[in-house]
């Protein structure tokens, strides 16, 4: 993907902290309107990259292009186009939900009336109308996170940076935040999502990049990543004495097998297509069968293991 068609492009971006490399030679393109996911383990450099992209810190090396033009992310015009939802719940606990939104709207230049209107709009958007007058510290963690998301939207930014928005949330709260992110995507916003929740990345992102120890190791759609890094597998429980049959049929079908405890794990190309032949041959000695489709998490974990090895 060329930088000309991308909304944001990073070229050779690096950042050092006290001589230690946090990010090294990042090349990345984010297209307009897409939800781009940055996945990686803790300490991979995800937050550092978001802080550079939002102009909160400067890179040690490299450049950032917006719509093909080199740009300092501290530039006021660029900042007007971006919204940030930081990793920690960023709000004033002793202000009400409504006051938090009005404050940010006012700081973004809206007059009193417009700020109040925008706050009301966003409270409805985040499903918090009933909690408008409650001090933010008394809201549940999930509500606080939705409020935080709404606060990032207060000036209707074109690009939204979300730094682990569901970290520490229960499944229900997480799902409601995901709904909001999908809403953003539906509104045509470009979303840059840093997460280590792979279910979240799989569900929300159009494209992904895997960041490991400050470097981008893989990029692509979730499917591409899954195909690249993982395979479906068949888990079989077999009676004693069937090992010969298993070995023979796997050899014939071009599949490989290995034993994990008492279970035999079969992998190989076109596993679903070869499944009937395999099962019919082993019917007499088969007492357990489980077909597992590969998830992004499987792929990621496997990839991490490979990288660490």
């Amino acid at each position: 993907m060329s930088s000309k068609s991308s909304l944001i492009s990073l070229r050779g971006l690096s950042r050092d902290f006290d001589g230690l490399r946090a990010l090294g030679g990042i090349d990345l393109d984010v297209d307009r309107g897409e939800t781009f996911g940055l996945i990686g383990p803790n300490g991979a450099g995800k937050t550092t990259l978001i802080r550079i992209l939002t102009g909160l810190i400067s890179p040690t090396k490299g450049e950032m292009l917006v719509e093909g033009k080199k740009l300092d992310p501290r530039h006021r015009a660029y900042r007007r186009r971006i919204g940030l939802v930081p990793q920690e719940t960023a709000l004033y606990g002793r202000l009400t939900a409504g006051e938090n939104l009005v404050l940010l709207a006012r700081l973004h230049g809206l007059d009193r009336g417009k700020a109040a209107f925008r706050a009301k709009e966003l409270l409805a958007w985040a499903g918090l109308e009933e909690h408008a007058d409650r001090e933010a510290r008394y809201l549940s963690r999930g509500m606080q996170q939705r409020l935080s998301l709404a606060m990032g939207m207060v000036h209707d930014p074109e690009i939204v940076f979300l730094d682990e928005p569901t970290s520490g949330l229960d499944p229900e709260a997480r799902s409601r935040v995901w709904d909001l992110v999908e809403k953003l995507s539906g509104e045509g916003k470009t979303v840059f999502l840093a997460t280590h929740n792979l279910e979240e990345a799989d569900r929300l992102c159009d494209r992904l990049a895997i960041l490991f120890r400050g470097e981008i190791r893989e990029q692509g759609t979730p499917e591409q990543i899954k195909n690249l890094l993982g395979r479906d597998r068949l888990e079989l429980g077999l009676a004693e004495g069937a090992l010969g049959d298993l070995s023979e049929i796997c050899g014939r079908l071009g599949l490989s097998w290995r034993k994990e405890g008492r279970i035999f794990v079969i992998t190989g190309p076109d596993l679903p297509g070869k499944l009937p032949s395999l099962v019919s041959r082993l019917t007499g000695s088969l007492y357990h069968l489980h077909y597992r489709e590969v998830t992004l998490e499987d792929a990621f974990l496997r990839f991490m293991k490979e990288l660490e090895n």
């Binding site: 802080r51 939002t54 102009g55 909160l56 810190i57 400067s58 006021r76 900042r79 007007r80 971006i82 919204g83 940030l84 930081p86 920690e88 719940t89 960023a90 709000l91 004033y92 606990g93 940010l104 700081l107 973004h108 230049g109 606060m151 990032g152």
Partner: protein, 565 residues
Amino acid sequence: MRGWRTLLAKDWKLIRRNRLLLSVLIVYPFLIMGVIGAAFQESGRPVPVGLVNLDDPGREGVLCVVLDSPDAGRTEGEVRRRAYGYGECTSEEQALADLEAGKFNLVIAREDGRVGGRRLYGALMDSESLQSLVMELEDSATEARFYTSFREAADSLAGMEGGVLLALPHRLHPSLGESLWVGGESYDALRLIREFSGDVVDLEIFPGLEEARGTLREGRVDAVVVLPPGFVHRLKTLEKVAEVNVILDQSNLVKAEFAETGIRGFFSRVTEEVVEEKMRAVVAGLYVLVSGGDFFGTPIIGLERIREDLADLYVALSDRPELGIKVQEGIDLADMVIEDIEKAADYLRGTALPVDLRISSVAGRPLAAKDAVVPALIVLSMLWTGVLCGAVLMVLEEEEGMRARLRLTPAGPLAMVTAKLILASGVVILQSLVMLLLAVAVFRTFASGLWISLLIIAVSSLSFIGIGQMLAAFARQVAGAVIMSVLVTFPLIFLTGAIFPLTQMPAFMRGIARASPPTYALDALSGVMLRGEGLAGVFWEIMVLLGFGATLLFAGSLLSGRKSQ
């Protein structure tokens, strides 16, 4: 009780690994001990004292004597009787000009109820008559004050019932520049003070009272001692106590207390030495009366010898009992006189000291402890609130996680810092204003220059908030900012001089105190509220505080910006 050892080890490990906690609990007390120890290591240093010696016969200019005299009404008649030149003066300026031109050698001013104002007249008389008149008037007065400025003397006369002002060329005042013998050496006033004040005070000589007062206001000396004309004469004759005027900077009670103690100490030594010397001479003279010898230059036969002669005579007159009785009366008288002389010698050793210190304030009025404490309280509360407000308000965003979010708004970091500065200044100024008004209106403390005080409070608050903002750059949570503020505020309070006088600290500690904004704030506020300084008098302090404020706020913003990188 199971597991207490493990928990103990855990707590110790946690303290060791938490640098802030480690500093507060363990390192800080040593630091404070070090600071206080350093401040006290040279305690007992000589107190810097200014000296104006009016007992110097070589002084030029006019000497003014303000007398509180019950005989003030008769002064004019006495002057007319002795003068060969006499005339009314229309103004103080003219009187002074006539005095300097030699038309008169004495100018007298007196509040006169009959004419409803001040009578001012001059006289010309021979030096002897002039000196004897001045001496008589001073002796009959209940109080005598000496000035080198006619204006100042005239001001002090205002509203003084029975007060009279005499202005004369300094050299014409009687009994100037006399010397006395102590330990076989001759001392004039200056040498006497220098000799006996050596390790107690550090003397700086000033030609006039105005310069000495100015230096006292600036804090370069802790007190001014004014030796009256005829100081040594009084010591010599012991006819009347020598009144020494001591001016203290009572706007700082600790400093004033130190200075007064030091001055009283060395005057005690002076007077003890002088009195002892004189007593030794008198006692020696008395013993010569008894035993015979050189009685102040005259060889005499002692009473003991006379008694022995009388005893011989009594024996020789044994056959003339009527004469023997008369001789026996002479012998008894001699015994009685010898005994009385010995008692008198013992009595003289306990004679009262001949110097009286009259303590006054540089503010021109005595200050009570409650007056003097107000500026210190205001500065200390400003320091506390300013540093705390500056630090806590800056860290608040950090703790709420809002810092990054606010930085992305068009408002920007400058607006953020400015808003916090205005709020913190408002809190500090309002708090100080309430304290000031309470002190003046409710507790009736003395305070002048309220508007300039407010200006100083406003300017000082910038520095204090700046310190807080600098500290905020090293804290990420409000609790941390509070602890750091306490750690920094405490030594700064100590360095203001409100608790321990700066002049008693070693040079390097004074240097540190001079690099600390609260020192200037206290100096300026005390100057305006208690010493009656105007804007010009505290202009330097205000400029320094502004400089500190700008530098600290800039450094705070810089550090804060670096932290976010």
